[in-house]
Amino acid sequence: MIWITIAAMSVVTFVPRLIPFLLGRNLALPPWVRRWLAFFPAAALGGLIFPGILSVVPDKPWLGLAAGACAAAVAWKARNSIFPVLVGIGVAVALEVFF
């Protein structure tokens, strides 16, 4: 039963990932659709970051927010994404150990 479940999950996950590549690539999309698609990453990032970071430690939403704010401050200055990641992890671990 678990194998059947895994197979079914696999199909419904991989097919939607593939379809846009199989169908839409040589399509000349109207400019408004292109403009719309261009904002998907920013919108997705917001949707991934904001509710997610509140639930890093489920009963302490402030902890994830604080770690995220520190990561954002570092990202504003640093060029690569390694420093913000390390600072975010460090702040979160420190806050959870001390509070």
Binding site: P20, F21, W32, A42, P51, A71, W76, S81, P84, V85
Partner: protein, 227 residues
């Protein structure tokens, strides 16, 4: 393979390292929980390898534990992962037309945003990125399923912040360049969060799909008004 594509694939593989740092603890947690839900280590690995979508894998475990039918679980998975359809659509526009469609199989929230942050995205860069990320997800799952005894939870949680920190690090340069990006991200975040209160029971997968469509429409409207 010529020199250019070799250096591109390596650059992509390196760009996957921050994602891998975020994935490993989550994958370890998945491996541990999968064992607790009654999966064999091989089944946990198969799910990570052939579903390769974190949130839906965790959701499936609680459904499996509640002995839901494969069809019900597949439907929940489809709903949760439909956002990848939107991401693939956006990514397909950015990659050159000669790129293999199979590349779409590597789309996750994280690989998508890292790939889209590239000025000139090449298929081999995305391939290298996928290799690092895919291996970290599979390896973490094996570690979790096999050594499910002792892994400190404080560290695992702290490392899951790494993923969000990386999202923030990707968002910040774009937001510095254009305030519209920041507005779109803020709307996307508030909608994904707020819709849970307006429509309790609406799954995360649908909330983020609605938020992406709506927030991006606002961004497109602002840009259009500017132009």
């Amino acid at each position: 393979m010529n020199h250019d594509s070799r250096s591109e694939i390596l650059r992509g593989a390196r760009a996957g390292i921050p994602i891998a740092i975020g994935y490993v603890p989550i994958a370890i947690a998945f491996g541990i929980l999968a064992k607790q839900a009654g999966l064999r280590a091989g089944q946990a690995l198969a799910m990570s390898a052939f579903v390769y979508a974190g949130a839906s894998q965790f959701a499936s475990l609680s459904l499996i534990a509640g002995s839901a039918s494969p069809i019900a679980i597949a439907f929940a998975t489809l709903v949760l992962n439909f956002r990848h359809f939107l991401m693939s659509a956006s990514l397909a526009q950015k990659l050159p037309p000669h790129a293999s469609s199979a590349i779409g199989l590597g789309v996750t929230d994280e690989t998508f945003v890292v790939a889209m942050a590239e000025e000139r995205l090449t298929p081999v860069f995305f391939l290298g990125l996928n290799v690092t990320v895919y291996l970290s997800w599979s390896t973490g799952t094996i570690i979790g399923a096999v050594f499910s005894t002792f892994i400190p939870q404080v560290l695992a949680r702290g490392m899951s912040v790494g993923l969000y920190a990386m999202f923030i690090a990707i968002l910040v340069p774009g937001a510095r360049k254009s305030w519209v990006i920041l507005v779109v991200a803020a709307i996307g975040g508030l909608l994904t969060w707020g819709l849970a209160f307006v429509f309790p029971g609406l799954p995360y997968g649908w909330r983020i799909v609605i938020a992406i469509l709506a927030a991006s429409a606002v961004g497109a409207a602002i840009r259009k008004a500017d132009a």
